[in-house]
Symmetry: C2
Subunit: 219 residues, 2 copies
DNA sequence: CCCGAAGTCAAACGCCCGTATGACTCGTCC
DNA sequence: GGACGAGTCATACGGGCGTTTGACTTCGGG
């Protein structure tokens, strides 16, 4: 029914009718529009127009609006995280240094790399407000592994069993300590809090958060 | 055009055609349905049916869907916070005790009183994902005053100017440390984190968060 | 050169839903 | 008890949008 993603490598020179390119444009446009307006308010005509594709292309390539949304979400996610995968922490000797590494990486993802994909975060915020099946996959694919990784660091830091309630809770505190800058941005904006955008500012912010988190964890 | 809220006190015995009651039912139903489906996906026919009111009643009482949404949001907000207003903190001598009071109150609002209005939090989450004019009002009306109040406590706690960058940032950290249990609930749920529901559990949680926050603030 | 498949396109179908309308039915007051 | 206004109701209008269809165009291979 729906066309599968075309062959990975184009054998010939770019064709005038390039299915791969059309599909990609559609995906990019969809990510943008869905992020801006939400699933329901986004309309396919706009997405297609912006992608210089015909309305029918959605059905042809993806099968429908819902499927397009899902693909767009994962495509955006992949592009953002593929460039800089989560650092492995267990190898690191010093738990405090490991925590620092993780937090800096996470904040960099949230605050800087989003410039490359300004809509991934908004897609996520929308999923939080109205979870669809996509959120299940995202949590299982991204959040849970990150949590598990960080959990080991926290356990080492406070010298407790990685499976204990305390470690679990404190791990989540650290994650959301960072994540708030993403999730609560509309509120922070209205409170007049400027967003750190430059690598230097983000690094400084990470440093302050790290101090806060370290003290809290050890308390 | 739209009927104003009826007289505060009903002079006579409840009438068979009771405008006040109809309006209230509509408001309650709207809050529920908007929270469950979001502004766009909620439909007036469903809201009206659930409120045992006619479709035309929406226009009659509120003027339209958007206006109904706004009214429903504020009605829910008022009901949740009216019962237990934010504690005044400046009066308290010990900053640590003041922080404790504030955090306990805040968490109680988020985790317990929401049982009375299970949909206020979801309405808020939706506003975060897709801010409308309503979010401006909510921030100005609720979040900003709470922030200002807490800011004084934090300033006293770390012995700094209440208007300094440091105080501002740390205040936000504390707020969102609590707020995450509200905002990130869909994620926490999928991670298998149970929600504290009983007053005792919430109090215990508040205690742990307080330890974390105090240590972090003083770091 | 032709044929079939892959891709594109315009047009239309059909549904959902917010809004609008006008008639009907109560309660109340003169 | 008649009339007026508040409240209720069924019905219809109109637009937006996802989906579907079928014909047209381009390309590669026999």
């Amino acid at each position: 029914m729906t066309r599968p993603p075309p062959e990975p490598a184009p054998r010939t020179a770019p064709r005038r009718r390039d299915a791969r390119a059309t599909r990609a444009r559609l995906l990019a446009s969809a990510g943008e529009v869905f992020a801006q307006h939400g699933f329901r308010d986004a309309n396919l005509r706009q997405i297609c127009a912006h992608a210089r594709a015909n309305l029918g292309a959605v059905r042809y390539y993806f099968g429908g609006k819902q499927a397009l949304y899902r693909e767009a979400f994962f495509a955006a996610y992949r592009e953002v995280f593929a460039g800089e995968p989560m650092p492995r922490l267990a190898d690191d000797d010093d738990p405090a240094a490991a925590l620092s590494t993780w937090m800096r990486w996470f904040l960099r993802m949230l605050l800087i790399r989003r410039a490359a994909h300004p809509y991934l975060s908004r897609l996520l915020a929308r999923e939080l407000a109205q979870p669809s099946e996509v959120l299940d996959e995202i949590v299982a694919l991204v959040v849970a592994p990150a949590r598990d990784e960080l959990e080991r660091v926290v356990a080492a830091l406070i010298d407790a069993d990685a499976r204990s309630r305390e470690v679990e809770e404190k791990t989540h505190l650290v994650i959301f300590l960072c994540l708030q800058f993403e999730m609560a941005q509309p509120v922070l904006e209205r409170l007049g809090v400027p967003r750190s955008r430059t690598p230097e500012a983000v690094d400084a912010l990470a440093g302050r958060l790290l101090r806060f988190a370290l003290a809290g964890l050890r308390a």
